[in-house]
């Protein structure tokens, strides 16, 4: 009897497998962007108003910004497992990528808020607005214009970094590509395809940001 590998070449059913991986990448990136951005806005704002918060959160920001994502993912995975959170790889990825996103977004938010000229804030306060009204109607809209472009850069970076979530067992697009490469040895074709699809996810994001930037320019 002759031994034979099943389905050694690429088959149409693999396209479905890849599409699932692609969808997982988009889900993970979207979830981490949402969680990280919301947390980052709050953190960044707190860091502008309170010296205590700034000092207390500095290690969080510095460590997350400086340690490679792959190490963070593995550590987060181990830590959460030890603590008994037997959740899905999707949540491990979201927590790790979201934490990184919150740290880097916080710095963009902080810098953008600090770039709002003090005379606008003074004017707003002199009209009787309280601190929160000033933040909502003056500082945040102006900071948004400054922070939009760097923030989009972070989102693109996050989409690409999500490719590392394979190490915690999440079958995102890169992981599914690697699985197929291992089986079929169609390295070139599959990697070209993966590169193309990452580009197709990222390009609209950066196009849209450019459009938004033009629209809100003052």
């Amino acid at each position: 009897m002759q031994f034979q590998f099943a389905n050694q070449g690429l088959a149409w059913s693999d396209a479905y497998f890849l599409a699932q991986g692609l969808l997982n990448t988009v889900r993970l990136a979207a979830a981490a962007t949402l969680v990280g951005t919301l947390a980052g806005i709050v953190l960044g704002w707190l860091r502008t108003v309170s010296m205590t918060v700034r000092i207390a959160t500095a290690p969080f920001i510095d460590i997350l910004r400086s340690v490679p994502m792959i190490i963070q993912l593995i550590l987060a995975n181990s830590l959460l497992s030890i603590l008994g959170f037997g959740t899905s790889p999707f949540w491990f990825g979201t927590v790790a990528l979201g934490a990184w996103m919150s740290a880097v977004t916080a710095e963009v938010v902080r810098a953008s808020l600090l770039s709002v000229p003090v005379q606008y804030r003074k004017s707003a306060r002199s009209l009787g607005m309280n601190g929160y009204q000033e933040l909502l109607y003056i500082s945040m809209p102006l900071a948004f214009r400054t922070g939009l472009a760097p923030w989009i850069g972070l989102v693109l970076s996050l989409i690409k970094d999500s490719a590392l979530a394979g190490v915690v067992g999440y079958i995102e697009y890169m992981r599914s590509t690697q699985i197929l490469i291992t089986r079929t040895h169609e390295t070139w074709l599959l990697l070209m395809g993966a590169g193309l699809f990452y580009f197709l996810i990222c390009y609209p994001v950066s196009r849209y940001s450019r459009h938004l930037e033009r629209k809100v320019r003052v």
């Binding site: 005379q119 003074k122 707003a124 002199s126 009209l127 009787g128 607005m129 214009r145």
Partner: protein, 252 residues
């Protein structure tokens, strides 16, 4: 009535105001003049609580500005202030600039706030500029916009902080015209200015500040035309000289 009594103010170790006493009656226009660094602008920003003070008291209609128990935001809507830099919010149109505070501070409906804003824009001669962004307006127009924005809170007092100093000379007139209009309508105004001519023709009283103190106060005729104190005379002589002469004398 604004009553300033024995106000002291320091930035770190630099003492800016050394016990200022000044009273501004309802309907009065008081000009504060003095050299740069004499504390005029600081005093103005103390009046609406933008700057904290280290001693003394400022009462606006009997309410203490720096008392922590005072609702400062409510008090500030009584005190309009216009700065040297026009500070029109760059992301809002002229109309939105004026309508914002009535809508969020005094909680008027959007329609009412916009109608109010339009009224005040017309008041300062910008009725047709409602849809323009500040970047599309000239310096003089932006400064009038800032005046309209302050007026929309329907303040009892207007504070002007060197509002014409950053303007091109040909744009100064339109802003002064707007201020004269307010004066003719009976607005109580405190005006920090380098424009001695404006002070002479419009002020009910002129206060000359020197090194953090009120050096001389009285009618324009008394302080500007017949100053008694030596510092006032020196300051006015310098102000009256043409800039070219100052250059010449410093070169010579």
């Amino acid at each position: 009535m604004i009553r300033i009594s024995n106000v002291q103010k320091a930035f770190g170790s630099v003492i800016v105001l050394k016990g200022i006493d000044l009273t501004v009656e309802k309907g009065e226009l008081v000009c504060l003049i003095g050299a740069s660094g004499s504390g005029k602008s600081t005093l103005l920003q103390c009046i609406n609580g933008l700057e904290p003070i280290q001693g003394g008291e400022i009462l606006v209609d009997g309410i203490s500005v720096h008392d922590p128990k005072t609702d400062i935001n409510k008090l500030r809507s009584k005190l309009g202030i216009v700065f040297q830099q026009y500070n029109a919010f760059p992301h809002l149109t002229a109309l939105e600039n004026v309508a914002l505070a009535p809508r969020v501070v005094t909680k008027r409906s959007r329609a009412v706030a916009r109608a109010l804003a339009q009224k005040h824009l017309e008041h300062v001669g910008l009725g047709d500029k409602g849809d323009s962004l500040p970047s599309q307006l000239s310096g003089g127009q932006q400064q009038r916009l800032a005046i309209a924005r302050a007026l929309a809170m329907e303040p009892s007092y207007m504070l002007f902080d060197e509002v014409t100093s950053a303007l091109d000379p040909e744009l100064v007139g339109e802003v002064l015209e707007t201020m004269r209009l307010l004066k003719s309508e009976g607005m109580t105004m405190v005006v920090v200015t380098h424009d001695i001519n404006f002070a002479r023709e419009s002020a009910d009283r002129v206060a000359f500040l020197c090194q953090g103190e009120v050096c001389e106060i009285g009618t324009a005729e008394e302080v500007i035309d017949n100053p008694r104190k030596e510092q006032t005379q020196k300051f006015l002589r310098r102000e009256n000289r043409k800039p070219l002469e100052i250059v010449r004398s410093s070169v010579a």
